[in-house]
């Protein structure tokens, strides 16, 4: 019905366009005819007035001549205009277009748009390339890795958890039954495996048991070390799932910085950027002092002490940094990286040529034990040994350091001088 109406409309439009187009040539000859009729009348008029005697013979002849000249002009005008206007292209192009365009539309419609054409669903089209070739590869690589590890040890909980995670990645984030099976096996052997616990919680959330998911994740949160890298993500997930299920969001899941380095708010950051460098330094120092004060009230916060120590070290307050490292160390032995920072905080307090303090020596010795080729420990422990009269101890360390140093190290000259001094006496 609609198609019929559209066809009717098109025909009417084409008709309305074609009729005036085809008429133009006819009208032009009509115009010449009417002009000739006027001139004929004028000639008759001249003849009549001449016969009456109102116009002289000579005047009548001049008027006739004038009219005849006009007739010739009119005939010439039609003739010279005709070839220009009605050249074949101009005469036939508009009507041809008016006819061709609707016909073309009809042809295309019958070819691709007509009702009753067979459907062309995606299934029967040739499959294109994958739009995102990178993504499946990572999941596939993880799967292959996990399966290779499981082939060696079928009950390796870490590999089982990895397999579960890879299956989840492969399923675009959905925890599939296969993944649940692998993760459950992983968790049965290592109940504290955070990856398995996280994804099993995710499965519970996805399969409509948000309460169990939140409970599992909160247990995981409680069991995680305070500086575990997954904590912020886990808290965000707890909040998301609790909110989606209409449950109260547990307070721990609302992002905040309960301890540790004070996290400046947006406003504070903006305010700080408007300060000049000296004022900014002052503001940062104020924040660090605030952290210090809080730690004095709550001295059991090891991560807090570590952050404070790092902040002090960066600010150049090396003595206070060393104290903070000692506090953190008392709450739990520091790792090698932090030991290096601690030792650095100690030796930076030294004036050139000064020997390290006993406290510094203790830290340096621990560092040397953890990392026997640590340049800092070798240099300063050598100096301490030299000062204590232990020349062989000093020489051993300095020679080791000299061998470790690159050929163009600026400290080489100083070191060689010292070695010479230790050997010479």
């Amino acid at each position: 019905m609609l198609e019929f109406l559209l066809a009717l409309l098109t025909t009417a439009t084409v008709g309305a366009l074609l009729v005036p187009l085809l008429r133009t040539t006819a009208r032009r000859t009509e115009r010449l005819d009417s002009a000739l009729a006027i001139y004929r009348d004028q000639l008759a008029e001249i003849e009549r007035t001449r016969a009456d005697g109102t116009v002289s013979e000579a005047e009548a002849a001049a008027a006739r001549l004038e009219v005849e000249r006009r007739i010739l002009n009119a005939a010439n005008a039609t003739k010279t205009a005709a070839p220009h206007d009605s050249s074949t292209l101009h005469r036939f192009l508009p009507p041809a277009l008016a006819l061709l365009i609707p016909l073309l539309a009809l042809g295309i419609y019958l070819n691709v748009g007509r009702p009753g054409l067979p459907a062309a669903p995606f299934a029967s089209r040739p499959a294109g390339e994958h739009p995102n070739p990178n993504e499946p590869i990572t999941a596939e690589r993880m799967l292959a890795e996990a399966r290779a590890r499981l082939a060696e040890n079928p009950n390796d909980p870490e590999a089982l958890a990895e397999l579960g995670e890879a299956l989840v990645l492969e399923a675009d984030g959905t925890v599939t039954p296969d993944a649940v099976a692998a993760l459950t096996r992983a968790l049965a052997q290592r109940p504290d495996n955070p990856r398995a616990a996280y994804y099993l919680g995710l499965h519970e959330a996805q399969s409509g048991d948000s309460k169990a998911a939140v409970a599992r994740w909160q247990a995981l949160e409680a069991a995680s070390p305070p500086d575990a890298p997954w904590l912020s993500m886990l808290r965000a997930e707890i909040a998301r799932v609790a909110r989606a299920a209409g449950m109260p969001v547990p307070p721990s899941a609302t992002p905040s910085a309960p301890t540790g380095m004070p996290t400046p708010s947006r406003d504070q950051v903006e305010a700080m950027q408007s300060l000049d460098p000296a004022q900014r330094q002052e503001a940062i120092r104020g924040m660090v002092d605030g952290l210090d004060k809080r730690l004095k009230e709550n001295p059991g916060d090891r991560a807090g002490w570590l952050r404070l120590a790092n902040a002090r070290r960066v600010l150049g307050e090396n003595d206070k940094a060393a104290d903070a490292y000692a506090k953190a160390d008392a709450l739990g032995t520091l790792d090698t990286r932090t030991l290096t920072d601690w030792a650095e905080a100690h030796v930076r307090q030294l004036k050139p040529g000064e020997t390290p303090s006993p406290a510094a020596v203790t830290v340096l010795e621990r560092l040397e034990k953890a990392e026997p080729r640590n340049a800092l420990a070798l240099f300063y422990l050598g100096a301490a040994a030299f000062a204590a009269g232990d020349k062989p101890g000093a020489l051993r360390r300095w020679n080791t350091l000299l061998a470790l140093l690159p050929a163009d190290a600026p400290i080489r000259g100083l070191l060689e001088e010292r070695i010479k001094a230790a050997e010479g006496k």
């Binding site: 459907a119 995606f122 959905t174 996805q206 399969s207 409509g208 299920a245």
Partner: protein, 179 residues
């Protein structure tokens, strides 16, 4: 006089439109919801080829077994379908629901691979490649889910993915209560 009344016409039109918009906003109508004419009526004809190889086609008889049925239209290319999928797995395994899945405008090989990866909760699975059954069922897209009681009457029509709340507040009571 008449001409002056004519000038009031745009103003009157504006007032009319403002009135309609105010009513729309205040009447508590959800303009995103297009409703469903199927609820309370017999389910439309179910006549699709089986999705899995070697299974008989799906017919109306599946909807009139005396037991409530869940009819879910899905597609492997549809992301919300991925999100609701674990809920169907749970309904099938834990709550013993009979779920009919219809892969809508989806290549059977792709739909099967998708189900193989995610797990297959469908007791009966059909392939509506052309979307004709979807048309009969008044589908606006995927995923959509219908709760059909034992007599083949549609009791609920979810447009969009089902959620945990839908499961707990609507689907589970329906499975328990409907005969």
């Amino acid at each position: 006089m008449n001409r002056r009344l004519l000038f009031l016409l745009p103003l009157a039109t504006l007032a009319l439109m403002a009135g309609f918009f105010a009513w729309s906003l205040l009447a508590g109508r959800d303009p995103a919801s297009i409703g469903s004419v199927l609820v309370g009526r017999p389910a439309p004809r179910l006549d699709v080829k089986a999705l899995r190889d070697g299974e008989p086609p799906l017919t109306d008889a599946l909807l009139k077994t005396g037991k409530p049925t869940i009819v879910n239209f899905f597609a492997s290319w549809c992301t919300p379908c991925l999100a609701e999928h674990p809920l169907f797995t749970r309904l099938a395994t834990r709550d013993g629901a009979v779920i009919i899945g219809v892969a809508w405008k989806n290549k059977p090989a792709e739909a099967n691979a998708w189900l193989k990866r995610l797990g297959d909760p469908y007791k009966f699975a059909g392939a509506d490649l052309e979307g004709r059954t979807g048309l009969d069922w008044g589908l606006s897209g995927v995923p959509e889910t219908y709760l059909v009681d034992g007599q083949g009457i549609v009791r609920r029509h979810f447009r969009g993915p089902i959620t945990e709340r839908d499961v707990n507040e609507t689907i589970l009571p329906f499975l328990k209560g409907a005969k």
